[in-house]
Symmetry: C2
Subunit: 364 residues, 2 copies
C-alpha cells in the first residue's frame, strides 16, 4: 500500500470512527446514543440555484437508541463501521452486495434486504461527507470508455499504469475503473470533451477522426451513465478545465441523461456536488435539429409526451432554451435518434452538424 493510500484510508477510518466515538461520549454522559441526519424524503430535496445541483434541505431527523428499532439501526451502523474499518486497514474493497451477504454473520444486526444496506451506506456518506469509494465500497457497474488525447496514471493493485487514452488502447478505448479517485491526469492535448449516448456515435466520431481534427476526448456514456462515468466527466471538467458536451438522441429520456450528468438526480442528491458537472452543455439532438435538418423521425409515444410535459415542470429544465425546445418537440410530435444524421451520409455529423453546432455554442 502506498503512503498516500495509507493516509487516505486513515483519514476515512477517522471519519467513520468519529461516529462511534460520539455514541461512546453520549453514553459516558448518561445520554441515549443517537445520530442526526437530513430527512431523506422528496419534500426535503431542493434544487440549489447557487450550485445548480439537487441538495437536501434543512429538515433533520434523529435516530436514537431509545426504541428497539432505533437501537437496531445504530447497531447495524456500528457493525458496518467496524467492517469498513477492517477492510480499509487491510486495504481491501468489496461491493455493497458483498457487504449485505457478510451481514449474515452479524446476528441481530443482519440486514433484511439489500435496500437497507444501500440506504445505511448513503447515511454514512452524508454524515462523513465522503463518497462510498473512500470506504472502498465498489459500485457493481463498471464505467464506460474514453478515447482521446489524454494521458492518465491509474494506481492499480498491480502497480501504477500510465496509459495514453488514444495511443495505448484498442479501438474500444480506455475502460474507466470503478474508483475514479485512483486516476490522475498526466498531460493532455484536448480542447473539449464530447460524451455520446450510443456506441454507434462514439465509433463514428473515432472512425471519422473527429478526436484528432478537433483535439477532443470522446466518452461513451452507454445510455444512462454509471457513477464512475459521471465522476470521470466531472474530473475532466474540473481538473483539466475542459468544456464537457453531451450528445444524445433527441427524446425526453435522453434529455434526462444530460440532466443527470449536469445536475445530478434526486436519488443521489446527497452526492450531487461530487457527481454532477453543472458546466456540462447539451449539444443535441435538439428538436430544432429534427426540423432544420429534416431528420428521419418517429412519432412521439404517449409516454414520450408525458415525460416531456414532466420536464417542463422540472427545475433542471427551467430555462428559456429548454422550454422552447420541449414545446417545439411537443408541437412537432417527433423524436430522432442521433444516428439519424446518417441519412445525409456517414460524414455529415462530423463534417457539418457538429462543427456548426459547436461554433454556435462557442466551443470551437
Amino acid at each position: 500500500m502506498s503512503e498516500s493510500d495509507k493516509l487516505k484510508n486513515t483519514h476515512t477510518i477517522g471519519r467513520l470512527v468519529e461516529i462511534a466515538q460520539q455514541w461512546y461520549d453520549q453514553i459516558s454522559d448518561g445520554e441515549i446514543p443517537s445520530i442526526r441526519l437530513p430527512t431523506r424524503t422528496k419534500q426535503n430535496i431542493a434544487y440549489d440555484e447557487a450550485t445548480d445541483v439537487w441538495k437536501y434541505g434543512e429538515k433533520e431527523s434523529t435516530r436514537a437508541a431509545s426504541t428497539a428499532r432505533g437501537a437496531t439501526h445504530l447497531l447495524k451502523m456500528a457493525y458496518v463501521i467496524g467492517f469498513l474499518k477492517g477492510q480499509l486497514t487491510e486495504n481491501r474493497s468489496s461491493t455493497l452486495r458483498e457487504m449485505y451477504y457478510i451481514s449474515e454473520g452479524w446476528k441481530k444486526a443482519k440486514f433484511t434486504a439489500q435496500d437497507e444496506s444501500n440506504y445505511l451506506v448513503e447515511d454514512l456518506e452524508i454524515v462523513t461527507a465522503l463518497e462510498r469509494e473512500a470506504f472502498h465500497l465498489r459500485p457493481e457497474e463498471d464505467g464506460a470508455t474514453i478515447f482521446g488525447p489524454v494521458r492518465i496514471r491509474e494506481t492499480t493493485r498491480r502497480g501504477a499504469r500510465e496509459i495514453h487514452c488514444r495511443d495505448d488502447v484498442g479501438e474500444a478505448g480506455y475502460a474507466i475503473p470503478n474508483n475514479v479517485g485512483s486516476v490522475e491526469f498526466i498531460d493532455h492535448d484536448a480542447k473539449f470533451v464530447i460524451a455520446m449516448e450510443t456506441g454507434g456515435m462514439y465509433a463514428r466520431l473515432q472512425e471519422n477522426g473527429f478526436d484528432e481534427e478537433y483535439n477532443c476526448v470522446l466518452v461513451h456514456l452507454k445510455g444512462q451513465p454509471a457513477r464512475s462515468t459521471r465522476r470521470m466527466l466531472k474530473k475532466l471538467n474540473e481538473e483539466l478545465k475542459l468544456p464537457v458536451l453531451i450528445f444524445t438522441d433527441g427524446d425526453p429520456w435522453s434529455y434526462r441523461i444530460y440532466a443527470s450528468v449536469a445536475y445530478g438526480s434526486i436519488k443521489s442528491a446527497h452526492m450531487s456536488e461530487l457527481l454532477a458537472t453543472p458546466a456540462a452543455q447539451f449539444v443535441g439532438v435538439q428538436p430544432s435539429d429534427i426540423r432544420d435538418y429534416d431528420l428521419p423521425a418517429d412519432t412521439l409515444s404517449e409516454q414520450d409526451i408525458a415525460a416531456l410535459k414532466a420536464e417542463l415542470s422540472d427545475p433542471r429544465f427551467a430555462t428559456d432554451y429548454w422550454r422552447e425546445q420541449i414545446n417545439l418537440q411537443l408541437s412537432m410530435g417527433l423524436k430522432s435518434e442521433q444516428q439519424a444524421f446518417a441519412a445525409r451520409g456517414l460524414d455529415f455529423v462530423t463534417g457539418e452538424y457538429l462543427p456548426k453546432r459547436l461554433k454556435e455554442m462557442g466551443v470551437v
Copy 2:
C-alpha cells in the same frame, strides 16, 4: 489500409457481388431473378447434436422478383450490397442503424423499419457464410472487459497496438473491440478462462489475485454477453486451446447466459458455429452449491419456476447433470447470487469454493 485488410475486404466484396452476379446471369438466361434461403422459422431450427449448436434445417424458401414484394426485397438487397461494397472499398464501417437511415435516400428500396434491415443483413450472412463484421457492420454494443496473462495485438485505425491484458491496462481491464476479428493473440501464460456474470465477482477475483495464483484470464460478461464478448470467448477457446468456464448467479436466467455462450441462441442460429463455444463449462452457482454451502438465498418467483420448467424441455439442458440440478432447485424453491459466497467471508470464493469446484471439474 494494410495488405491483409485489403485482401479480406476484396474477398468479402467478391462474396457479396456474387449474389448480384447470379441475378444478372438469371436475367441473361431469361429467368426471373431469385435467391434461395433457409426458411427462418422456429420450426426450421434444430439442435445439431454433432456440433452442439442450433442450426437451420433443410427447408428453404425462394424470394423471386415475380411479385412486386419479392422484387422490392431483391432491390433492397441490391442496394445493401452496393452500400457494403462502397464502404469496404473505402475501408470504412457503419452500424446497422446508420445503414437503416442511409436507406432514406434509396427511394423504393428504403427500409420501413429497423427490423427489416437487420433481417436482410442476416440473410446476407447466411448466403455468404460470412459474419456482419466482415461487411464492416459494427454491432451497437461494445464488448465487455478482459483481465489476465495474455498479450494481444489489435489492428486499429490508428495503427497496431500491442497490449498485455494485465500489465498494460487499468483495473477495469482491456475493453473488447466491436470487431474481434482485428485481435490476434501474441503470447500468453494462461491455463484457463473464467467468465463472470457480475462486475462484483470480476473485481473480487482480481482483488484476491486469483488470476495470478491460477494463471487464468478473467472475463466480465456484463449480464447477457454481447456478440463480441462471445466471439472473444470462442477465440480464446479455439486458438489458445484454453478451457472456458462460466460463473454466474444460480437462477434460470443465468443458466441461459451459460447456454447462449455454449450453444448459441435460436435468434442467431445462422451464426451459431461462429458465435458459440460448445466446450464452455458451467461452474456455478449450482443449486447443489446453495444446499451444500447453505448460501443466503431468495425464494423462487413464479417466473423463475416457469423458466426452470422450460429449461427442462430445452435440448441445451437435456443432460443428466442439468436435469438433476434443475429438479433439485425446483424442490428447494431457492436461488442464490454469486456474491452470496461473501456470507462466508471475502476470500471464501477464491480460497475454497473455486479451487474445490475447478478440481472437481478437472480444470486445475
